[in-house]
Symmetry: none
Subunit: 229 residues, 4 copies
Amino acid sequence: MSNPQFSYSHSPHAPEGIMAEHQDLVSPRKRPTQARARRTVDLILEAAAQILARDGEEKLTTNHIAERAGFSIGTLYQYFPNRESILDALIDRERESSDRRIRAALAKIEPGAIAETVREIVRILIGSFARRGRVRKRFAISMTRLAIARGDQTRLDQIAGLIIGAWRDASARAGRDLDDSEVYVLTRAVLGTLRATVLEDSPRLKTRAFEDALVRLILGFLRSPDAPR
Amino acid sequence: MSNPQFSYSHSPHAPEGIMAEHQDLVSPRKRPTQARARRTVDLILEAAAQILARDGEEKLTTNHIAERAGFSIGTLYQYFPNRESILDALIDRERESSDRRIRAALAKIEPGAIAETVREIVRILIGSFARRGRVRKRFAISMTRLAIARGDQTRLDQIAGLIIGAWRDASARAGRDLDDSEVYVLTRAVLGTLRATVLEDSPRLKTRAFEDALVRLILGFLRSPDAPR
Amino acid sequence: MSNPQFSYSHSPHAPEGIMAEHQDLVSPRKRPTQARARRTVDLILEAAAQILARDGEEKLTTNHIAERAGFSIGTLYQYFPNRESILDALIDRERESSDRRIRAALAKIEPGAIAETVREIVRILIGSFARRGRVRKRFAISMTRLAIARGDQTRLDQIAGLIIGAWRDASARAGRDLDDSEVYVLTRAVLGTLRATVLEDSPRLKTRAFEDALVRLILGFLRSPDAPR
Amino acid sequence: MSNPQFSYSHSPHAPEGIMAEHQDLVSPRKRPTQARARRTVDLILEAAAQILARDGEEKLTTNHIAERAGFSIGTLYQYFPNRESILDALIDRERESSDRRIRAALAKIEPGAIAETVREIVRILIGSFARRGRVRKRFAISMTRLAIARGDQTRLDQIAGLIIGAWRDASARAGRDLDDSEVYVLTRAVLGTLRATVLEDSPRLKTRAFEDALVRLILGFLRSPDAPR
DNA sequence: GATGAATGAGCCTTCATTCAT
DNA sequence: AATGAATGAAGGCTCATTCAT
């Protein structure tokens, strides 16, 4: 989370108690303690997401958001201290829902032949990116851009780490373990490919050939004879 | 080049003689004919690059550019029809200088063992991105974002294609050739990794371990037994 | 009315209840719902009218209007989507007040000898233009120019038509009726004369001789033996 | 001429010698004494006229004019002290050519029956306005607007006066002569009608019915029994 | 005589944010 | 709690005009 002290996402996993006790100048004007308030925040975020999807980033103004959400601009500022915080909350919301989906899928993988496990993982990742594309291409792209601009690793990267871990366990490999740089390169390679495919809006994403190539990339890397020199 | 008839980049490869005979009332802008004018254009682009590097994209306004360049806003608009065109010219300039460096380096590679060739290529690419990183991380990020937003594949992708080709020739491989999806994934993986490393401003970029891992990624992919399953 | 769905003139004839249910992101601007807002719109229009009168068309900039009205430029744009719409509203306002006055006067004419009726009408028209002249010659000129530039027939033309109709009824003429071209020429002649007199700022406008000449023009035309030649 | 001390029109009738001996701050930078200079001025005016006709008033900028004329902006300012003076010169040029045409046509009218004479005059006037429309509607409208904005009576009005005079002679009328107001109204009525027809871009202008109606307007006025009351 | 690079006030418009009601 | 009127810095851009070469 980019600013853990100031979260607007109401995910069941996000502890609500971290919030500051008293509000300084940058904090929200009002703490959404009541059910109605929570609903208002959701409506505002939903409006923002809609605008991002339908009209694009440049239309994502505070006034538009308030209007689309059906509130006055004043109300919006009662829940968010500034425009930035709305984007933050939006990104958090997105990331968390994405996280949940991937975690759930990973939990279902049964340990087995390494090739099978990798393919399963690849499918989950592709599905994760593809879903975004399905909902709203524009939204996905914008969210990615915003997250990157904010320096967010998009929790997917962490998850990618987990995947490596999962794979590590699943495999009964002989040779030495992957070192930091190798993990780093492998995750960036896979995620970078997926991101590029989404950004380019390539229809390849859902093809079998694409999946095969990604599997080949990972397995080839893992099975490669130890570091050349 | 986004607009071949109206380029501001003075690359030795760009024919200078295409100048239109007659400009109508809606044509972009005056073309810099005098030496002073040419220098002005360069100063403007340089100022834009500086702002991108030091202050970030959101400060890249026409007024700031003009100010930093030491000209009045009117002068800027004598040479660029609008803000967009400045970005275009900047991207062109960047891409061309990058292209030249990479091409020059590639030309020096001597055919040899595939592993060596791949390592050479990786070094060239890393060098290419490292230089960017050196100049200004922010600049690199912005340029990449701008190029992507414009649908530019950043000529690096084409070059990546060339690399694959070069590799193809260099190797006396038996098995079948790479198909489209495989080339796609391989280039995106390598470039994606490099980009991520720059964006994250990771010190890894210049380490031997990183280089090794990238080489392993490529060779592992190439040597992988044909399509799994 | 140039844009009947979005009128700023609070004429008693304009139904106020047409307000759109839902405005999308590109809709003009907020509609003045509160009393304060309504007053603001009026002040803005009043300021525009003043500037037109005192400083001329070229000073009629959005910034000047806002300043003279005593508001910030932002406020102006809360109620008008662009400069154009201010001019439109101004023209509407002018035309409606002019219409009302003329209609009211016409309603008072009692049927009688044609010569008397024509003279009454002429007096009403002169009065209508004279009032304009009183306010501000510059304003009148500008309004006329703007209205014409917009393709507006300035409702006066319609009214001129009504006059012809009224005259038609009033007279028990034998000969054939006026044809299109004749009506056209007669209205343009009368209105053209009045306009020229205002534009030239001629003191003639309020003289008896001028009134006589206009009456003579009209009666002469109407009584003229059928098609010459 | 709006500013007799500063004429750029090279009509054979306009005495060239009135020009000020030495140049003050507002005067042109250079007196076009040589043939080449005169040609330059003509080219500039011609360019301005073309832009007015093809692109409209809003494109009539000094830079555009210079460009279209094939000169640098600097050269333009060597012959005209400012934008205004170009418009003035343009209007003069137009008016003079129009004057000449009408005078020439009037000279050919042979004295005869009043009805015939009036019809001849009407035809000349219609032809004068129609020609404008034929060449470039936009140009005619713009010129008229510019002339009016400048308070020019467009010499046509004077000429209209001459026409009345001509008619006066031609007719062997009994009753009293026309008084000032009557002349004023009659000329404004005729000219106003013609102007309106051009501004409205009405196809009526060239019809026989229109001509008939105008004739009826004039004759009706002239034959009308003396001022009522 | 001619050029064209340079100027900068000023135009229209947007939008995040505040605050009185 | 909510409203929405008001704000004003800032952005992109135009164009008449000047002046060194």
